[in-house]
Assembly symmetry: C2
Homo-oligomer: 502 residues x 2
Amino acid sequence: MISRSPYGDEFRYVLDSKTENKKINNFINSGKKTVVVQGLGFVGTAVVAALADVKDKKNNPVFNVIGVDNPDEKGYWKIARVNLGKAPILSPDENLDIIYQNAFKNKNLMATYSKYAYSKADIVVVDINLSVTKKLGNPFKYDFTYSAFKEAIEVIANNVCENTLVVIETTVPPGTTQKIIYPIFQKIFKKRKLNIHKLYLAYSYERVMPGRAYLNSIINFYRVYSGINEESKRKTKDFLEVFINTKDYPLFEMHSTTACEMAKVLENSFRATNIAFIKEWTDYAQRAEVDLFEVIEAIRMRPTHRNIMLPGFGVGGYCLPKDSLLADWSSAKFFDGKKHLEMSLNAIAINDLMPNHTFELLKQKVGNLKGKHITILGVSYLNDIADTRYSPTQYFYDKCLKEKAIISLHDSVVSYWQEKKIRINTDINSLKNKTHEVAIFAVRHSEYSAFTSRDILAILPGVKVVIDANNVINDSVAKELVWSGVSMIGVGKGHWKCLGRE
Amino acid sequence: MISRSPYGDEFRYVLDSKTENKKINNFINSGKKTVVVQGLGFVGTAVVAALADVKDKKNNPVFNVIGVDNPDEKGYWKIARVNLGKAPILSPDENLDIIYQNAFKNKNLMATYSKYAYSKADIVVVDINLSVTKKLGNPFKYDFTYSAFKEAIEVIANNVCENTLVVIETTVPPGTTQKIIYPIFQKIFKKRKLNIHKLYLAYSYERVMPGRAYLNSIINFYRVYSGINEESKRKTKDFLEVFINTKDYPLFEMHSTTACEMAKVLENSFRATNIAFIKEWTDYAQRAEVDLFEVIEAIRMRPTHRNIMLPGFGVGGYCLPKDSLLADWSSAKFFDGKKHLEMSLNAIAINDLMPNHTFELLKQKVGNLKGKHITILGVSYLNDIADTRYSPTQYFYDKCLKEKAIISLHDSVVSYWQEKKIRINTDINSLKNKTHEVAIFAVRHSEYSAFTSRDILAILPGVKVVIDANNVINDSVAKELVWSGVSMIGVGKGHWKCLGRE
């Protein structure tokens, strides 16, 4: 079988548990505690690095770390990369690769697909995904199921020994640890004739931020945790203190795992709602020919208003577009909620459809898109991050495609757009040979925001309309482009209507 | 005629412009600049104090300050109080009364109803109200009219001289200065044969906070301003710099008065929306038996989430319940908005109806309220502030009354509830002689939050149910009350359901 990573490397593999288990036995060769991290995705990658890098006073690694992922096309390449001393996820944070290399040399890190790993664990950290399927723009209709997640928990319950600490980090519907995970352990421990009182179960969520401070956002940031009982809390505290800088970022212990799970989805819903809030003001300011960025800058002077969000192209990533749905599901199914979390879900819908604002500006300017050459600059959901999950560009791209526009794409960091299976040339000069009528700056990649008007005219020869959907271009560059005969439209930049009037 | 203040003083008066104008002429007796403040309400009171208190290097007052209000039952007592050396609005900020006394002695402050004052002004500051009539819970239907506001502006335009600077501080629908106020001046100046280019017109909004730092919130806080032209901006800057601590709180100049007006309503809409956001999570956490205060404390560790709001009883005061409506009106009428500012208006509705949450908790516990003795502690909209405008207690009180409950009221600072025309005994011991079955802590007055369980039992003899609607009572006091046989219910305190189960 073959597993391909998004970075171009390919791995052939044959499943062979016996060899795999021997590897594990050979790996566990010291008095170190063993931590098994389930899930080598975005969070697991950083957690593994944080754990593998912890050293004692003699500069020896504190933990044996085993990363576990699935032996399939989507999972195997992560395992293979770790066992070659590479981080599964590519990141602009250089620390990550260095740590994976060092751990490979130090032999305190391996990855496997074998369930046998859990039997060797002192601590298991759960970092798998728990997805929800939603309809863009209508988050009141979503599908959610625990099945894959439950299976993953069952694998742990069927393999761990007594006295293992299991720490859930996955974002879950609040109540999951108490109502889903703990009962699985109860049932399976009973079957296995293990003492359920010797299971330590906790919930603690990370606040990983992509980008250059990827690893840092695990180690140097506030952590919240709770456990199903006092002993679980205590053990979790001891564990977190080993790899988190709790001196500068004190731990916050909560009374219940449900409260802790709620904190995670509430903080993301809060942020998503704050982003959605600014949408109607963006429309309004556009009509009023007001520079909404200036307005927000004025408002942000107030310490209580510093997090008011800026207008933009849309919202993406793995958390904000879905976490409110997990809360809504929990409210209805676990806690007898008769009504939806309406404001939080409406915010999700507003954010889903936010690219429509840019699309409408485009239509107002250009009319029928059929056969028009449209250049979209930016495919990822966040500036300088090669992550395209729930990227707003996808929604926008699909709309343009439906109207039969001829689309050119560029992104500074995404060379392969997984969701669309499109290869992208990250060299900005590759655009020079193409035909441009309208260009959309969708993502504030640092490459783009450094452009002068001369750069833009050189890169996009013949461009007639430039739409800045994400505050990429500043007023003076915009003015120069207007002088050069380009029509400038900017989301949140109603005042650009006056450019060139003087 | 008689004018009665809410603090018990009465003033008889006869309108006599001649005497009034003589007083003004006698008052303007020096080389000082004269500032006329139109409107002696909540903002005007503080602005007058800030201006009257400015001293030059020789410790002499810099401005002659004239406060203007209407010669009617609602306005005259303010004028009379100022001319007796008293602040029109009572406030816990002691600086205010001292400044009014000193200005009285220094003779650099007077108040009048005479329009003649404007003719003596170098600067006019507009601090009158601009209200909107709304339907509680349905902010999509509101009535708004400029008529009184326009008349007030016309009075200024008909009386000021050329070279006067007029600074609008009233919260207005964005666009008002450009589209309403400036045209009034254009028309009237033409009629008066004055040069409109010698009118300086600006918008600058205050961020006054009630309470002990009332005056301080004018002087020591960030200010935003703009003017209809560069000269108006410059003159406004010079004026603001005289009485605001711009060294520590730099001024923020905006490109247009419309942008500046928008900043004011946007910042208040943002706050109102953030308050509304937490409502559905309060319901949810209540059902999940989660302590939402603990959850929010955990979330507030993140610098980006520090302003996530707490659950509570409701939202009141003069700004948050209405400012989004002014924005919505502007969007529709000035800037061709086809849709409402839906999220902002929905937030207003959620906040309007927030006391329903407490009311439902009450009904769940008590059932039919007919003939039940209900004690409501707190009538003002904010802790330790004697301001009852849009107070959530009013909505709650009306609902209880409609169900024929027998209501006892207390408030630590409000001795007369204007909207309901009810006298309130602020002595907490006055409750001891009354019958209590259910007590609602509606406002977090510091008197209440200092109560021990013993205090509560002594003050409310016989009370069976205590509902804490505003985080007044802490967990240990609640526990003691449960031990004493009281049923405890708390908004956002779902975990109290578990009290006494141990």
